[in-house]
């Protein structure tokens, strides 16, 4: 630990006291488990409230814990961040709404932005003034991200973007997006992409919600029609956007691996599984006990592994390609837990009244199917781990060294 960094124990005590004094506790069920509000589709009022809460958190020094101090962060370690997450778990802090902005987009801007871009946006991301999202997948392809078709054409001091993006979570209430678009068509696909910082309130941005299998609709598709983006909103170099996109995905995978995905605090930990088993009169069944225990052990191992590997990647001791196993592992743990929950809930998860918690297991099961698809499918993670971390050769590819305008696409 570097000199001057607050000791974890002191940090924990300070965080605990501040939370007691300043934040409301979340309600709990009779078995003691926390009821986490679903804010995946916040109303205007909820959004306003969340921004106000975030402003307070930031002012008190609890936002951007691992961000550099000069951009409004606290300059502390991942361990401090983990302590904050543990301590704030039972409190009504606006984690979910700002999760993607603060854990994926902010760190990407810190890594690739100019000093001016960082000073302009990062403090506002941390205090809740700006909500950011990623505009990555397109209707023509998601896994083959570098094959994107959205175009950006130079027009004097600006670029003009045209195209369509999809599967973007939370676009309905976002202020800005990182959006890769094609700026050159006469070079192979990875070499003609530029990363843009797009103001989602610009003319020409049209957003439509998409309903998901869990019934929610935080998924969106976006139509970009002659959207003007000033040239100083290019992140990184022109035509070097693939590098930025890769860096952003590695940041995302490491975070998803650490947090179990989404920072959404799903109410489905081991205590909840024990409670669920009891409610279904299964708590005495040795086979059920072992399945829950096995899951608990795996979740614990994943947590420990994520911290270890994240630190290794951060310090340069481990390949960034290993971020793929963080996400892959988190996906597996979540899906196994959700499958076990559905299995334990059994018939009670087939139909439920609004106050009945068994419905949460049904919803969590459905939501968990997204884990292995969103943010880079598990198949893409395995490719990345194999090729980047393990040095295995790529599959032969038909478009890799061919100018993009000569490649057949959807």
């Amino acid at each position: 630990m570097t000199e001057g960094t607050e000791r974890l124990d002191d940090f924990r005590i300070r965080a605990r006291q501040w939370l007691i004094d300043n934040v409301e506790s979340l309600p709990r069920r009779s078995d003691g488990t926390v009821i986490v509000p679903d804010r995946s589709q916040p109303s205007e009022a909820q959004l306003t409230e969340a921004r106000a809460q975030q402003l307070t958190l930031h002012a008190a020094g609890w936002a951007g814990i691992t961000y550099p101090v000069e951009y409004g962060g606290q300059g502390l370690s991942l361990d401090h961040e983990a302590v904050w997450q543990e301590e704030s778990a039972g409190y009504d802090v606006p984690t979910q709404i700002f999760a993607v902005s603060q854990n994926i987009l902010g760190p990407t801007i810190v890594a690739f932005g100019s000093r001016e871009q960082k000073l302009r946006h990062v403090p506002r991301i941390l205090n809740g003034r700006e909500i950011w999202l990623q505009l990555l997948s397109e209707p023509s392809g998601g896994s083959d991200l570098a094959g994107l078709l959205t175009r950006a054409d130079r027009d004097g001091p600006s670029f003009v973007l045209n195209g369509q993006k999809t599967w973007s979570t939370g676009a309905a209430h976002a202020d800005f997006a990182l959006c890769p678009a094609r700026t050159r068509w006469d070079v192979p696909k990875h070499r003609g992409i530029t990363m843009f910082m797009v103001d989602m309130h610009s003319p020409g941005v049209e957003i439509r919600a998409i309903r998901q299998i869990n019934g929610g609709a935080e998924f969106c598709e976006e139509f970009l029609t002659d959207v003007t983006v000033p040239a100083d909103r290019v992140l990184g170099e022109e035509n070097e956007g693939w590098r930025v996109a890769r860096g952003m995905l590695e940041i995302e995978h490491a975070w998803v691996g650490r947090s179990g995905g989404g920072g959404t605090r799903r109410p489905t930990g081991v205590a909840e599984l024990v409670s669920l088993a009891a409610s279904r009169r299964l708590a005495g069944d040795p086979g059920i006990q072992r399945r829950v225990a096995a899951l608990h052990a795996l979740a614990r191992a994943h947590e420990l592994m994520s911290v270890r590997v994240s630190k290794g990647i951060e310090s340069g001791g481990l390949s960034p390609g290993l971020s793929g196993i963080l996400k892959l592992g988190a996906d597996i743990v979540w899906q196994r837990r959700a499958e076990l929950g559905l299995d334990l809930a059994g018939a009670a998860a087939l139909a439920w009244s609004p106050e009945d918690q068994h419905g949460e297991w049904a919803r969590d099961y459905l939501t968990s199917r997204s884990a292995s698809i969103a943010g880079g499918s598990d198949e893409i993670q395995r490719n990345n781990v194999g090729e980047v971390a393990l040095g295995l050769p790529r599959e032969p590819s038909l478009d890799r060294d061919v100018p993009f305008d000569q490649v057949p696409h959807n």
């Binding site: 225990a293 096995a294 614990r300 196993i325 892959l328 295995l392 032969p396």
Partner: protein, 398 residues
């Protein structure tokens, strides 16, 4: 790559790896499969010179830890020896040394520790493996062997002990037997004792010999009983020793998994089919990515168990009631994770190797045997999951 080692520990690890590469590559384990002793005493003694038997013994008797963290030192040794399936009763002698160091009188310590630490003598624990690899609950922990007092103040042991690692080769056996009051006694029994016979038996794991001990009225002096005459010392001590054994065994399994993984990765890069390395096919590449994930989960789980043991003072508190619950929980987490993912990894290793992986001459089956077998020893995977269930809030069966 280990990221969490101190400078001393890194040096200790590198020394261990170099020693094993030079003196005990996998080939020596293979060569000793049909050997009556099952290990090379000279190599074993040179391993002892590196301090591999010292960590759990007090400094007064030649012991001591490189890093001040005895279990962490031994976990490094276990991982490195797991990589080459090092032949020899290393874990077993360390457990015996721990038993003597923490349960023995000064006389018992002086009589055994210097030889165990220097590698001049070897030892193993002989106790009753229940069906789930742990002393059976609700029955005398040592059903199968009993100890009765003799008129001259000594003890007479009768019965049998099964699955004793290197049981027909070691010099000293730490035998668990039921005392007249029904509690467990741990006895120091020289292998040369009259009435004691050890039979080596056929084993699934070829590179770790196991023996059955027959105890036909083995007469021992009163000074052979560990625990200073305290009735509860044996059972509590055995429980702690087995938790420690399960953690060190997990470290060994992780070493074996890592060696298997590296072997498989190399093969996937060099073996060609359809004009390209098989590792370029997603069917193989994805399997290797999963194997890496399983390995990293396993490393993290064992690392936490080792930390818990050292933090908890569970070794020093081998006799203290109440100590060691964190270590026991972390050990069960590790056994649960590694008991599932170790076998998955070695089975994948055999599969990726194809036909050559099914041959006797290829080393991969030696690792397969070790990793699968470890899943049933020092508590089966199911046993540890049941134990963990009680710790996460499930009702414990009466």
């Amino acid at each position: 790559m280990r990221l969490d080692l101190t400078e001393d520990q890194s040096f200790f690890q590198e020394t261990a790896r170099r020693f094993l590469e030079a003196e005990a590559p996998v080939g020596s384990a293979r060569r000793l499969i049909d050997d009556l002793v099952g290990f090379e005493p000279g190599v074993y003694r040179r391993a002892a010179d590196l301090g591999w038997l010292a960590p759990l013994a007090p400094e007064d008797f030649g012991g001591g830890s490189v890093s001040g963290r005895a279990v962490a030192d031994l976990a490094i040794v276990a991982e490195e020896t797991g990589r080459v399936l090092f032949p020899g009763p290393l874990l077993d002698s360390n457990l015996a040394a721990a038993a003597v160091a923490h349960l023995g009188s000064d006389e018992q310590k002086a009589g055994h520790l210097p030889d165990l630490v220097s590698g001049r003598a070897t030892a193993a624990l002989a106790w009753s493996w229940g069906d789930d690899g742990w002393p059976a609950a609700g029955t005398p922990a040592d059903a199968g062997a009993s100890a009765d007092p003799t008129p001259d103040g000594g003890w007479r042991l009768s019965g049998a002990r099964h699955l004793v690692p290197y049981g027909s080769a070691v010099d000293l056996l730490v035998v668990a037997a039921t005392l007249p009051a029904g509690s467990v006694g741990l006895f120091l029994v020289p292998a040369s004792s009259a009435g004691l016979t050890a039979r080596r038996i056929d084993t699934f794991d070829l590179t770790r010999p196991l023996a059955t001990l027959d105890l036909a009225a083995v007469d021992l002096p009163g000074t052979s009983l560990l625990g200073g005459g305290r009735e509860d010392a044996g059972a509590a001590g055995l429980e702690r020793l087995l938790v420690l054994a399960s953690v060190l065994q997990c470290a060994e399994t992780v070493g074996a998994m890592e060696a298997c993984f590296e072997m498989t990765l190399d093969y996937a890069k060099s073996r060609r089919a359809f004009g390209r390395p098989i590792g370029s096919f997603q069917a193989i590449k994805h399997r290797l990515a999963d194997m890496l994930l399983w390995l990293e989960w396993s490393k993290a789980a064992v690392g936490a168990a080792v930390d818990a043991f050292d933090r908890d003072g569970a070794v020093d508190g081998l006799l203290g009631a109440g100590a060691g619950t964190d270590a026991a929980e972390a050990a069960s987490v590790a056994k649960s994770v590694i008991g599932e993912h170790g076998p998955l990894l070695v089975r994948s290793a055999v599969q990726v190797h194809g036909g050559i992986g099914y041959t006797w001459e290829h080393d991969v089956h030696l690792f397969l045997r070790r990793v699968e077998a470890n899943g049933y020893l020092y508590g089966s995977t199911d046993f540890h999951r049941s134990r963990l269930a009680g710790l996460v809030g499930f009702p414990v069966p009466a």
